[in-house]
C-alpha cells in the first residue's frame, strides 16, 4: 500500500507540500495533513469524471475528438484558449504554442482574479517576498480583502500569522495581526485589529494611509468608514514594525477600483520601505494560476490576455481578456482547459461559450463541459500526472503523479500536443 510523502496539494496557491497520501488499488484512501478542500480533492478526484471523449454529447474516440477540436480551431477566426490555472506548466506551454499556431487569443483565469494585481504591478512594480520570508520575519501581518480561513485554509498556520520561524519562534504571539475587510469574517477572531471598510472604499483608505505614512496630516474624520485615529495608529504601527507584510485577495482586485486598489497598496508598501521592510503578496487562488502567468510571460512577454492574431504576441486586458472577448461576442470558438468559466464568468460571457463551438479539456464534468461541443477527459495534474506548478509567491514545485489516470485518459499537455499535431497537419 504505497504511502506518498511530501505530496504537493493541487488546490490553492499555497501548494502545501507536506501531505501524505495513501493509495490502494489505484484509489486514494487516506490523506494526512491536508485541509478540508485538499482532502476533498484527493478523496473525490475519481468522482464526476468525464469518462469518454464527447462530440456534441456523443461519445467518441480520442482521435475523433482531437480531429474535431483541430478542425474547430483551424477554421476559427478569433479562437480563444482559456483556463490553465489548474493544470501543470507543460500543458500551459503547449496551450501557448497552440494559440500561436492558430492565431488565437490565450488568456488564463488570472484575468478574473489577480489580473488587476498584474496591471498594477506593470504600472508601479511591487515589493514582495516568498512566504518563508514572512514566516521567518514578519512581526506585522495585514490581511486585506482576503479570507484565508475560507480560501487558503492552511495559510495562517504554515506561512503567516501562526507560523514559527527564524526570528518568530513565538509564532502568533510574536506578531501583530490586522484584518481589513468589508464584512466581519472569521478573520476577525484571528486578528488583533479588525478594520471594517465601506464596500468599494479600499482605495480611499489605502490612499489615506499612504499620505499619513508620507507625513501629511489627515483633515477628515473618517475615510471609508474608518475613523482617523485608527488610520493614524495603523500607519504608525506599519512604520514601526520590523518586517511588515500585506496579504491581499479578491476583496481588493474585484471590487470597485480594481487595479487601482492594488496600485494604492503597492504604493503604500513601497513608501513604507523608506521606514522599514515591507512586502505585499497576492493570495493567488488556483494552485497554478501563478504558473499560468509565469509561463505565458516567459514565452510571450505577457502574463495573460495575449493575442496572436497578427503572428506576434500582443497584450491588452480589457481587449483580449476572456470576459471581454466572450461578452462582446467576438470569440468564434473556444478551447477551455482545466477551468469552468460557464460557472464563474458573467452570464453574458458564459452564454457566448454555449453559442460557439467550445472544446473542453477537464478531468471532471463541469458546467462548461456540459455545454462543450468537444469534451476530452484529462488526467488530474498532481494526482494522475506530474509537472510544475508555481506557488502564489512564485516558487516552482513539482507536482507528483500518485497513480495512473483512468484507461485511455491522457494529461492535458499530451492532448494539446495531439491537437497541435493535427492542426499542423
Amino acid at each position: 500500500m504505497p504511502v506518498y510523502r511530501s505530496v504537493v496539494c493541487p488546490f490553492c496557491g499555497c501548494l502545501c507540500d507536506d501531505l501524505e497520501v495513501t493509495v490502494e488499488d489505484n484509489r486514494i484512501v487516506k490523506v494526512r495533513n491536508g485541509c478540508a478542500i485538499s482532502t476533498s480533492k484527493f478523496l473525490h478526484h475519481h468522482e464526476n469524471r468525464v469518462e469518454k471523449p464527447l462530440i456534441d454529447g456523443e461519445s467518441a474516440t480520442l482521435e475523433e475528438a482531437v480531429k474535431e477540436a483541430a478542425e474547430i480551431l483551424k477554421s476559427a477566426r478569433r479562437p480563444l484558449i482559456y483556463g490553465l490555472s489548474s493544470t501543470e506548466c507543460g500543458a500551459i506551454a503547449k496551450a501557448i504554442e497552440l494559440a500561436e499556431l492558430i492565431g488565437g487569443v490565450i488568456d488564463n483565469t488570472a484575468s478574473v482574479c489577480h489580473g488587476p494585481t498584474i496591471l498594477a504591478l506593470q504600472t508601479l512594480g511591487e515589493s514582495k517576498c516568498t512566504l518563508g520570508t514572512v514566516r521567518n520575519r514578519a512581526d506585522l501581518i495585514i490581511y486585506w480583502g482576503c479570507n484565508p480561513l475560507e480560501a487558503h485554509l492552511r495559510h495562517l498556520t504554515r506561512y503567516s500569522a501562526m507560523a514559527r520561524g527564524l526570528y518568530t519562534s513565538g509564532g502568533r504571539k510574536d506578531r501583530y495581526v490586522v484584518a481589513v475587510d468589508v464584512r466581519e469574517t472569521r478573520m476577525k477572531r484571528v486578528a488583533d485589529l479588525f478594520v471594517k471598510v465601506k464596500p468599494g472604499g479600499d482605495y480611499e483608505l489605502l490612499s489615506a494611509l499612504r499620505a499619513v505614512v508620507r507625513g501629511y496630516g489627515l483633515d477628515v474624520d473618517e475615510v471609508s468608514g474608518v475613523p482617523r485615529d485608527v488610520i493614524l495608529e495603523l500607519a504608525e504601527r506599519m512604520k514601526k514594525s520590523r518586517f511588515g507584510a500585506i496579504f491581499f485577495g479578491l476583496g481588493l482586485t474585484q471590487s470597485e477600483g480594481r487595479h487601482m486598489n492594488i496600485e494604492a497598496a503597492i504604493g503604500l508598501v513601497a513608501d513604507l520601505n523608506h521606514h522599514t521592510k515591507f512586502v505585499l503578496i497576492p493570495m493567488r487562488g488556483h494552485y497554478n494560476v501563478a504558473g499560468a502567468n509565469t509561463v505565458t510571460t516567459w514565452q510571450t512577454g505577457y502574463p495573460y490576455a495575449v493575442d496572436f492574431s497578427r503572428g506576434y504576441p500582443r497584450y491588452n486586458p480589457g481587449e483580449y481578456t476572456a470576459v471581454d472577448l466572450l461578452s462582446r461576442g467576438e470569440a468564434d470558438a473556444a478551447l477551455i482547459i482545466a477551468s469552468d468559466p460557464v460557472a464563474h464568468l458573467p452570464y453574458k460571457a458564459a452564454r457566448r461559450l454555449a453559442e460557439i463551438p467550445t472544446i473542453v479539456l477537464d478531468p471532471k464534468r463541469s458546467m462548461t463541459s456540459m455545454i462543450g461541443r468537444v469534451v476530452i477527459p484529462t488526467a488530474a495534474a498532481g494526482i494522475e500526472a506530474e509537472g510544475t506548478a508555481y506557488r502564489m509567491d512564485g516558487i516552482p514545485i513539482r507536482l507528483k503523479k500518485l497513480m495512473e489516470p483512468p484507461e485511455g485518459v491522457l494529461p492535458d499537455a499530451e492532448i494539446l500536443s495531439l491537437i497541435i499535431e493535427e492542426v499542423m497537419g
Partner: protein, 281 residues
Amino acid sequence: MMELRLKPKVSGLSIPLEAEVISPDVVAGKTLREVEELRVYHGNRVETLSEYFEVEGEVAPNPEEQLIIVEGDVSWVKYIGAEMTAGKVIVKGDAGMHLGSRMTGGEIIVEGSVGDWAGAEMAGGLIRIRGDAGDLLGAAYRGSPEGMRGGCIFVEGSAGYETGTGMRRGLIVIGGDAAPFTGAHMNGGVIFILGRAAKRLGAQMKGNGSLIICLGEVEELLPTFVYDTTYTPTFMRIYLKTLSEKLGIKRAEEYIGRAFRRYRGDRAVGGDGEILVVERG
C-alpha cells in the same frame, strides 16, 4: 483637401477589423486601386480594405491634403487614424477601439461614439468625438508611464474610466460626464469636465502643472486632496476662451469670472497637481 470616401460594405461585425490603414499617411500618394488593396486584419486573417469598404473619391499626393470620410457606423473597426501625422479623417458614425491612438498630428472627427483607448498615447493633433468615449481615453497603454503627450481630445458626450491616465501634456475636454479615475497618474496636461465628475478624480496625480477643472458637479474627491481656497484665477479665462474659440464650446464662456475651489494633491504620492471645482451658484 482631397476627399476619399470609404463606404462600409458590412455592418456590425462581431470580430472587429483592424484597419490602421484608414489614415491619411497610409492613403496619400497611392492610387485608388492600391488603397483598395491595403491590408486589414480580421481576426487571424489578412484581407484587403476593399473587402469591407467601397473606396471612392480622390487620393491626395501628401497626407496634409488628404481627407478621409468613413461613411457610416464602423464601431467594428479598430485603429482608425492610429499614428497619423497629418490630414483629416471624418467618421460619420461610431468608431471602434484605438481610434487615433499614438497620433501626432492632423484631425479626426467622429460623429458618433468611440470605443476604448481612443487617442491613447497621442502626441499631437485633434480628436473630436460628438458622442461618447469609452474607457482609457487618451490614456497610457498598460505598463507605460506616459499617456497623452500632446494634442487635444474633445468628447462632447461622456468619457469612461481612467480617462487621461498618465497624461503628460495636451488637453482633454469632456463635454458630458467623466467616469472614475479620470486623470489618474497625471503628470502634466489639462482635463476639463463639463458634466459630472465621478470619484477618484486625479488619483495619484503628481504635479508638473497637472490640472483638472470641473465645471459640473463632483461626486467626491479623494481624502488625499487638500482644499486651499476659493478664488477666481485669471488663467482660467484663457482656457475658457480657448474652449469657446478653438473648440466651439460657447457655454464655456459662462464660467468666465466664476469662482473656483482649489484642491491640491494627490498627497498619497506626495503630488501637487490641482483640481479646480467651480463654485456652485
